[in-house]
Structure formats: C-alpha cells, structure tokens
Amino acid sequence: MQMKKKIANWGNYPVMETNEVEFRSINELKQFVSSSTSAIARGNGRCYGDASLSDVTISTLKFDKILFFDKANGIFECQSGVTLDQILDVIVPEGWFLPVTPGTKFVTIGGVVASDVHGKNHHVDGAFSRHVIELSLMLSNGEIVICNKNKRADLFEATCGGMGLTGIIVSVEFQLKKIETSYINEKKIKVDDLEELLELFEANKHYTYSVAWIDCLKKGKGFGRSVLMLGEHAKLNELNDAQKAKGALALPKKKSINFPINLPSFVLNNFTVKLFNFLFYHKNFKKEKHSIIPYEPFFYPLDAILHWNRGYGKKGFVQYQFVIPFENKEGLITILKKISDKGWGSFLAVLKTFGEQTDLISFPIAGYTLALDFPVRNGLFNFLDELDEIVLQYGGRIYLSKDARMKANTFWKGYSNSKKFTSVIEKYNPQTKFQSVQSSRLSITAQ
C-alpha cells in the first residue's frame, strides 16, 4: 500500500516525490520497516527542509493514541503521531502544561523528540529531552526497544535530536509542568538596539520564558531594535474577574485564518512589518507593557494563520537558525549586519538565549540563537554558505530541523559529537535503513 506523492515540509523547499506509507499498529510498521531499504519517519511535516524526506516516508499521523495520563503527577504517554495541539487540549484543563514547546503546536511528539525541540524557556528548563521519562522505538531489524537516560543511554541520546536516524519513535512518556491557570503573565519591552537587547536578556534571565522579535532591516542607529517578550504562567490571583469566570484553566478559543494559496512573498512580509510596527509604535505602549493573556498568542502567534508558509510563494523558503556561544557575541552582530545589508531575509527575526546543554546531537548550546526566513532565490545558498562560515568561525552551529541546504562540512564542524553520533547510528541502524535526504546530504548516512 504505497502511493507516490509529492511532498515538502514546512518551507516548501525542497519538493520531493516519495512513497508515503501510514501505519496504525506495531505489526503494520514492522512490515514497512522490514520491506524498505531506505525510509524515514515523518510526522506533521513541520520541520522546514528535507530532514523527513526519503524514498519511503513512514507517516506517524495515524499512530495517534494517547496511552496514559496520570493527572495527579503529570505523567503523560502517547504514540508518536499525536500532536502537541491535541495534548494541550487534554492536559491544560487538568492543570498541566508542556514542559517545553516550540513555536508551533502543530508538531507530533515523535518530531518533537527527533528534533529535541527547545522553547522560550530553554535557559531555565533545557530542551524537550530533559523531560522525557522513556521512549520506545523500532530499530531497523523490527525490534521494539525502550530507552531513556539510564537504559540504553547511547540510543536515547542519539535519538533525541537525532532526526529519526536511529529508528522509528513509536511512543514517548514525559513529565508535564504544573500550572495554576492557562494564562501567561506577559511583559513586553520595547528595545532600541541590539546592545540593549542583549543586556535585557541577561537582566531578565530569571524569567521562565523569553524571546525577542528583531527588525532585521533596520541599519545604523537603532540596529537591532526589537520587542522583548517575557512571560510566566499566570497565578490564579493574577487573573481578572472575566478570566476567572471563563475558568482559570479554560482552553483558548480556536480561532484561525487560512492562507488558501501561495502568495508572493511580500504579503507575509507586509504582515510581519505591520505586526511589529503595531507593537513598536503602539500609543499605549511606552516602554513596557504588562498583560495577562491566553497561552496561545504567547507561544503560538503564527499558528493562528494556518499555512502561513504559503505566504512565501511557490518557490518556498528556508528558515535559517544558528546558535553562537555567549562569549562570541560579535559573531551574532556580524551576521545580523550581513543579513540587514543584504535585505533578503524576512523582516522579522527571532532571537533568544539558550542555557547549558551538552547532549550528544541536540542543537542547543549555551549562547544566542537567531532564526529568520529567506525566500528561495538565486544566489541565496551562496549567501547562506557565507553566513555558515561565520557561524563556524565563532563556534556555532545550524539547527538541523530547519536546514535544507547546508554543506556536510558545516554539520561535521559545527556538531562536535558528530563522530560519536554516527557510531551510535551504525550500532542500531547498521544498514542505514533509516536515512533522509538530509542525512545523505550531510554524509551522516552513506549516499
């Protein structure tokens, strides 16, 4: 039961014809795994590039059962195809939240682990893997194994952030975070330039959540002007009467608009320009603004616009995200200058800080991480190669879940444990049955 299908991930680049298969049971999955020579698991297709593309993509979306929820202790287990969106619907009304969440809730839990996603709280809570109690995955021989920090620790480490190359994640058990309300106590600060922003990040590092939107086009005075958003889960006594009346743990209303077709890229850019200007020039917003808001606009502002990726047009886009250690902040400044001089990127970039993380292959290391979109155009990849050089020069690396184009060398130099990572892959996935277009491009698996 295979169907040739043209698929692309969130960046709509690259587009590839693959055989997509779905499974609903372990037995079905076993059949696919034993009959394929090269395959990769794919969830909701929200990585940006080619990490979940292969000759055969094994979709986890039909493997979507919630297996366990201990409401007293906040322990949750589900199959790999369940999305964060679905999990929030179940846990929030019971007073629990995701320990770590990326900027979209439309990702599957399998994808969350394979990317070892980070959130606005990385500097406090680390990446998602820190909260995983146990994983089960299917190896290339069809065997189901369980692993965590103590049991088959090498496999666990290489699976968290390992882009699906160790096996097919079938279920994940993890620890939730206790909340009193479904609201966020948010503080927004208008920031005049980059220097001030970096100081403010440092001064506010006790905040659980922090992220900044930077105007990437502003040059000279005001270079790096931005809006810094800080947040904590709101306490019960911080809600107003209307919010209390709705229920402290009420789920936000699902509102969304849809981008029906591919549009020229200026449409989305205009939208983000407006959004930023609204925040920056809003009359009632002098320097700081406090508010108690539902969690959705705080964590998932872009989820309200379904298919916003279509706003970049048919050719697609790549999202460029790198991290550079704190001590090399001139690297960050150099790159941001190059980006604003070139003017090819999205108007908005997202900047945040990472805390310590020394895992095998996960993206985060202590430092600054910047992410922005580049619509695909002639010359773009050469330009990004230049940026890669600077990232490497300053001891940084590129996020695999966003990547669609980096050179193998950039990966091997940037990820200091890459040799050890590939040796674990060789151990558990000896015929490199699990491989993606990305893993071949980066020479992680044989081409």
């Binding site: 039961m1 779905e22 609903r24 059962k65 297996l67 179940v90």
Partner: protein, 243 residues
Amino acid sequence: MSAVLLLGASSDMATAIARKFAQDKYDIILAGRNVQQLSEFKTDLEIRYKIRAEVVKFDALDFASHESFYKNLPFHPGITICIFGYLGDQQKAAADWSETENIIQSNFTGAVSILNIISEDYKLKRSGVIAGISSVAGERGRQSNYIYGSAKAGFTAYLSGLRNSLHKYGVHVITILPGFVYTKMTADLKLPPMLTATPEQIASAVKKAVQKKQNVIYVKWMWRWIMFTIKSIPESFFKKLKL
C-alpha cells in the same frame, strides 16, 4: 447521554466517527476483531474525552456469535453504526469464489445478520438509531467492481426496507453513501480530491445525520448528481461503457 456501538471499529472511518461522538460525550462500544489495537483506542477515547469506552470482540462473518455478542454488551447502545466492509479485488473475485464470498459476507450478509438482531431489540424498546455505511458503488453495477457493488446494493436495499419497517416504532435508520474515501482500503488509488471524503468529513456527516434524523446521505454533495446521471443512462448504452 446515549451510547454508540461501532461495528468494525478498527478502520480510519470508525476512528474518526468514534472521536466525533465521544467529543459530544457519548459513551462508546468498540466492536471488532483486533481487540489489542482497539484497547489502545479505548484508552485514548477515555483520556481525551472523559467518557466510558469498552472493547468487545466482534467478527462480522461469525454469524452464530452475533446473538450472544449483542446480549453481552457491557451497556445498551442507543445508536448502532455499521462500518465494516471489504472492497476486495474484482478481478480476483470473478475467478475465485472465496474472494467473492468474502466480499458478499463482509458487506451484506454479516451486516444483515447483526442488524436483524439489533433492530428487533430497538423495535421492542421503541427507540434507537441504526446507521449503515453503504456505498455509491451499490447504485448501479459497473464492470470495475460489481461484486462489491452488488453486495452494497443489497445492503442499501436492506437499510431502506429496515427504515420503512421500523419507522412506526420510532426507530430511525440512516444510509450513508460516501463516495471515495481516503482510507486503508484506498491508500494505493489515485483519487480525485473533489469527490473524496476524509474519514473526519464522514464522521461529521454521520453525526449530523444521527442528530437531524436524515435518511440517505451522500457525504460529498457532488455524488448525488453523479449517481443521478449514472442511473439515468439507458441500459442499452450503459452496457457499452467502460466504467
């Protein structure tokens, strides 16, 4: 709130229907052959929707077991949705009786056997809703799938007669005619999107039909007109077509 019995609960369509009803706080009985897989789904339904769900082993082709299956259900379902079916392989079926038999029994005989039992009970109770998933393939036999089509035609006629006979007892019967559906059965076919329903769309249509007491529904509106056209073609001409 009433409870829903899903006959053939392992399919994507059944999964979507179960979730749709559970969302509205109906309790759910999952009946099917794959008890292990269904018990995972039972847990999923209970956690997501805080309802009661149970799994009961059910084999549509084991007619002798149907009576005791229904008698021993853990609670009484006011709504029964008959979902199981088997598309089969027309070419294989034409040459191989066991395939033909399987198609006929999965789509017709098995359904009649269990629904006879359930409808007698609903008649006595003077309440209940029965919904059957039939097929547009049953509206006119075509060379590409007439074994399946004729079994579904039988099922459609059965549901129509049942509706007529149970009306006076306050029992409602619904015939659901999905066109193409994105499911396990059709994963390797290339289907036209305008005419193809997702399991979720079918689930919404079924729930609406139950709540609004509709009789015969086509999930995608276009099918009503397509089938009207196909049924209007004179037989002398129709027999020459490659359909």
